[in-house]
Symmetry: C2
Subunit: 207 residues, 2 copies
Amino acid sequence: MGIKERKLKHKEDLKQSILDAAKKLFIKEGYQATSIRKIAAEIEFSPTTIYLYYKDKAAISHALHQEGFKLLASQFSILAHIDHPFERLKAMGRVYMQFALENNDFYELMFNREEPLDCVDEHWEEGEQAFRILLMVVQGCQQAGYFTQFNAESFAMFIWSTMHGLCTLKIKGHLDQVVKRKMVMQDIDDAFTHTFETFIATLEKLK
Amino acid sequence: MGIKERKLKHKEDLKQSILDAAKKLFIKEGYQATSIRKIAAEIEFSPTTIYLYYKDKAAISHALHQEGFKLLASQFSILAHIDHPFERLKAMGRVYMQFALENNDFYELMFNREEPLDCVDEHWEEGEQAFRILLMVVQGCQQAGYFTQFNAESFAMFIWSTMHGLCTLKIKGHLDQVVKRKMVMQDIDDAFTHTFETFIATLEKLK
DNA sequence: CAAATATACTTTACAGTGTTAAGTTTCCAA
DNA sequence: TTGGAAACTTAACACTGTAAAGTATATTTG
């Protein structure tokens, strides 16, 4: 049944090109501006054809959301080359920050939107896996004498909170709004990295 | 010219009732579901009347956003009764968390949406004022011997990041998603407060 | 091979959105 | 009484996501 397979292949192709078109629009114009109709126009199909391949817009969001996690995971892969656990943790933070800033639409979709999670039935595999990596790095640090008095899970949660908060404040422009005014940090040009360094310094003191 | 004043009063009244209606809908159904048309129906005027009092929807968002900051500021007022600086910082964190969870739509509008900030011309007074309070509390802590080796502004920024990250992760459901699974923190029923406690514990070590 | 059926896609339509321009009513001042 | 301004509405535009119904084309079956 070679024909049936080719058909299926073709169907998969179209599903993929819908996603590619969505991704393209999404990266260029952001989530709000990425409408079903524009995606359809991009691939030169009628808008309703999209619904033959994706349940609704949230399903497309979810697919993009997963693409984002793949991308993040690939960025994290460089961490394997760093031996010292605490150095690895620092590098992980920097990779996370860079990812958030360079792909802020993806970041938004991955962590700040609820639509994609509506498609996730009680199980958010991508998020868990990313958290698991952080948890392992934290546990590595603990074996090297860091954060020994803390529960690994909640310490990882704390680290994630700080990094997530910092990145979202930066992306939404709140960081610069508060900081670039004369009132605070007159002397600091980059509040973002400086706040990160402060965070790292506090962690360093917990050896 | 008593008549003209009454007119002006009446205009202000309508502007206020638009805001009240928006607030009511917004609290009950969230930002997305609060449309100009629904606000208009609520006050029994035609949709376009709204535009005689507010430039566009972002202007209404901005007004609500300011209401949110008023509310937060009123919650912060209880901090004045707490003498010990570090206790005040802890209480501030708890008030912030409670505000975020109890008014998560407001919180979203205040810190996670960009629309309201579009109305703010290069100056985000509300945000700055809130940050100034945090900064003062941090400086108070420093005078009591905490965080002395750190720059107050960036330390305040770090604290805000952590609190903001924790609250948004909680609100968006990511915290529970990652934590309530068996894989981590089997024994912890409330990951949110536990992570906060971990954060406070790290701060405590920086005396 | 012809008829029935399934597949893939489109057209049309609904109910909603923010927003603008033009039209209408109301009310006050000259 | 009349002119005009102020307050409000109607109608319309250009969008949005999505469902139902219609139409070709291709495949299977009698």
